[in-house]
Amino acid sequence: MKKKTLLIIITIFVLFCFVVLLKGLSNSNTYVPNTKIGKQLLSFKAKKLLNNEEVISDELFFENKIYLLNLWASWCVPCRTEHHILMQLSSNPFVRIIGLNYKDDLTNAKKFINQMGNPYSEILIDNDGTISIELGAYGIPETFIIDKNKIILKKFVGPINDQSLKEIESLLK
C-alpha cells in the first residue's frame, strides 16, 4: 500500500516537471523587455548630428503628433532594410521621426543619410551608447512610438516592416 502511494507521488511529480518543462519550450528564448510600455520617456541631453547643437529631448516632443524615436547606425545592416519604411512614414503629416544615431562614425552617418534619404526631423547622437541604455534599448535598430505627452505607446525591437507599419498606422487613427 505504502509503495503504491509512493509510486503515485513520484508519478505526479514527474508529470508535473514534464508539464512545466513542456510549457517552457513554447516560450520564446529571445528576451524582449516590455517594461517601458505605458511609461514616460526619459529626458536626455544629446547633440544634433547635423549642426552639433545640444538639445534636451523634452524640447522635441511638443506637437500633437505621434513620434517615432528610431535608433540607428550606418554600420547596422537591418537599419538599411527598414529605411524605406521610415521614408514612407516621414511623408505622413501626423508623424515625426527622431533619429538617435548609435555609436557611429559621424562622417559615415552623414553619408548614410545623404545616400538613403533623411526621414528624420532631428537626428541626435549617442556616441557611447549610454543614452540608448538609459532609454531601455539593447540593440539597434529599435523604434519607440511616443505620444506628445512622451508616453511610450509601443516599442519595436529589430527592423520595422510592413506589419509594424500597419501597427503604427493603426495608432494614428
Binding site: P33, K103, D128, G129, S132, I133
Partner: protein, 123 residues
Amino acid sequence: MKYLKFIILFIFCFFSFFANAENSNNELLNKISKNIRCLICQGQSVYDSQSDFAISMKLVIKKKLEEGSTESQIYEYLKNQYGEWITYDPEFNKNTFFLWLFPIFIFVVGVWLIIRKIKFYKL
C-alpha cells in the same frame, strides 16, 4: 622643514584618499556588472561581455556610481529600465515563488526522511 613634512603628509593623504575612492568605485562597478545579465549575449554577464550593449551598460553603471547612487539604487534603476530579468538575482514574487520555495521543500522532505530512517533503525 616641519611645515614641509606636514605638506608632504597632507598631499600623500589627499591622493591616497582619492585613489582609494576610485578603487572602491571600480570594485563596486565590477561587482554590479557581474550581477547584471548581458541581454544580447548567451549566458554572459555584463562584466564578462565585450559587446556594445555591455560596454555601454558598464559606462552607465560607472556614471551612476560617480553621481553617488548606491548599489541597490542602480539595480532598481536597471530593473525599471529592463525588467527584473536583467539581474541574476530574482526577487521573490508570484512568478518566482516556486523557484525559491521548492529547494526548501525538498530540504524539509529530505530531513524528514533521514529522521524517519534514523528512528526506524533505532527501533
